[in-house]
Symmetry: C2
Subunit: 224 residues, 2 copies
C-alpha cells in the first residue's frame, strides 16, 4: 500500500494560485490566504517550501507574489478538471442542483484516481462545461479559450445564449435558477437603463430586470 502523500493542501494552493493568476499578475500572499482561509504567514511558509521542492511547481520572489510554472499549471488544471467533471457528474447522475455540488466536489477532487476521472468523463460524453458553464480543462490539461461576453455588455435588441454563471453563493444560484437564468438558455435584451445600468431581459415568457451585480456574473454568446 502506497504512502498517502501530503499532496492534499498543495493541490489547494495550486488551484487557487491558478485562479488568482488568470488575469496575468502573480497571486499575492494576502489573496491566497483569503482564498484558502488561512493566515498570510502560513501562506508565506508554504509557498517558500513549495518553491524549493524538486519538481518546481511555483515561481516565487519575496514580496512579488507567486506564479505557476508549466508543471504547476498542469497540476492545477488536473484538480480543476476533477472538480468540474465531478460537479457535472453529481448534477447529471445523482440529481444534485447546481447550488449544492460545490462542497461535495471540493472534497472528492483530491481523492479520485485518473481512472475514475476517465470513466466519468466518458460516461458524461466528455463535456466541455460544468453545470455553472465553467470550462472543463481537456484530458491533456489545456484550458479551452473562453469567448463569452458579460451579459452587462449587451444592449436592447441583442439576443444571446447564456454560457456561464460565475457565481458561487448558493442563495444567488437558487435565485438565478428561479429566474430561468441558467447555461443553455436563450435571452433577449429589451431595455437598458444608463442611469442604474439595469438590463431588462426576456427569458422565454419571463421579463426580468437585472442589476449590474448580476449581469457581470453571467457570460453569454451572442446570437447573430
Amino acid at each position: 500500500m502506497k504512502k498517502s502523500a501530503s499532496t492534499q493542501s498543495v493541490q489547494d494552493y495550486l488551484k487557487h494560485i491558478y485562479e488568482l493568476t488568470e488575469k496575468g499578475s502573480p497571486a499575492s500572499t494576502n489573496d491566497l490566504a483569503r482564498e484558502l482561509d488561512i493566515k498570510p504567514a502560513s501562506v508565506t511558509g508554504m509557498i517558500q517550501k513549495l518553491a524549493a521542492e524538486k519538481p518546481t511547481l511555483v515561481e516565487y520572489q519575496k514580496h512579488q507574489g507567486v506564479t505557476l510554472t508549466p508543471t504547476g499549471k498542469r497540476a492545477a488544471l488536473e484538480v480543476i478538471r476533477h472538480h468540474r467533471l465531478l460537479e457535472t457528474w453529481l448534477v447529471q447522475t445523482l440529481g444534485y442542483s447546481w447550488d449544492e455540488v460545490h462542497e461535495e466536489a471540493e472534497r472528492l477532487e483530491h481523492v479520485i484516481s485518473e481512472d475514475f476521472e476517465r470513466r466519468i468523463a466518458a460516461a458524461l460524453g466528455n463535456p466541455t462545461r460544468d453545470p455553472h458553464g465553467e470550462l472543463i480543462p481537456t484530458a491533456d490539461l489545456k484550458m479551452p479559450v473562453d469567448d463569452t461576453t458579460p451579459l452587462s455588455s449587451l444592449r436592447p435588441s441583442q439576443s444571446a445564449t447564456i454560457q456561464r454563471v460565475a457565481a458561487a453563493d448558493p442563495n444567488l444560484l437558487r435565485h438565478l435558477d428561479s429566474l430561468g437564468l441558467t447555461p443553455g438558455i436563450q435571452i433577449e435584451v429589451t431595455e437598458y437603463s444608463a442611469f442604474d445600468n439595469n438590463l431588462t431581459v426576456k427569458v422565454g415568457r419571463k421579463i426580468n430586470v437585472l442589476g449590474l451585480n448580476i449581469t457581470t456574473k453571467i457570460f453569454v454568446e451572442l446570437i447573430s
Copy 2:
C-alpha cells in the same frame, strides 16, 4: 468553512478495529498495526489518545487490546457502509470490475457526505450486499446478520447460491470470476475428496475442482 478535523485516520482505526473484533476478542496492537500498515508503537499512541477523547469511541486496557464502544461501532459501520455502497456503485454505474473497486472506494469512503451516501443508496435501490457479497450496514447503522455457510462445508448432491466471496487479492478475484464463481451464481457439489479436501463443483456447464484455500472464502446459501 469548517475545520477539516483529523477524522481521516481515526476512521481507518475504527474500521479495522471493527473487523478485528468481529469474532469477539479485542483487537491487538500488532494486528492493528499490520492492517493499518504502520508500526505497533504508533498504534499504541493513537489508541491511547482515542481512548481518552470526549465521545468515547474505544475501550482500551494496556496489553489487553482494544474494542469499540457502541458509539465507536456506529462510526465504524458508517465508514463500512460508505465503502460498500461506493464499491457497489462504482461497479454498477461506472463499469468497474470487482477486483478494481477496493482501492478507489478506500479513498472515497472518508470524504463523501451523508447526502451523497443517501443519494447513491437510493439510486442503487438500497442494496444489501456489495459486489463481493459483503453485507452493507443499514442506514440506521446496524450490520445485518450473515446466515451463510462456507462452501468448504458442502458435500456431494448439495446445491447452493453463492452469496459472498471473502477475497481481496485482485488476481484471485479475476480467477474466481473466470471460473464463474461470483455472488448470485448457483452451484452444485458433485464430488468431495476427503484426502485433500477438494470439492468438485458444477457451475452451469462448467466443472471446477476447488481447493480448500478457495472454498473457505466462498460463502453460500443452501438450496433446500
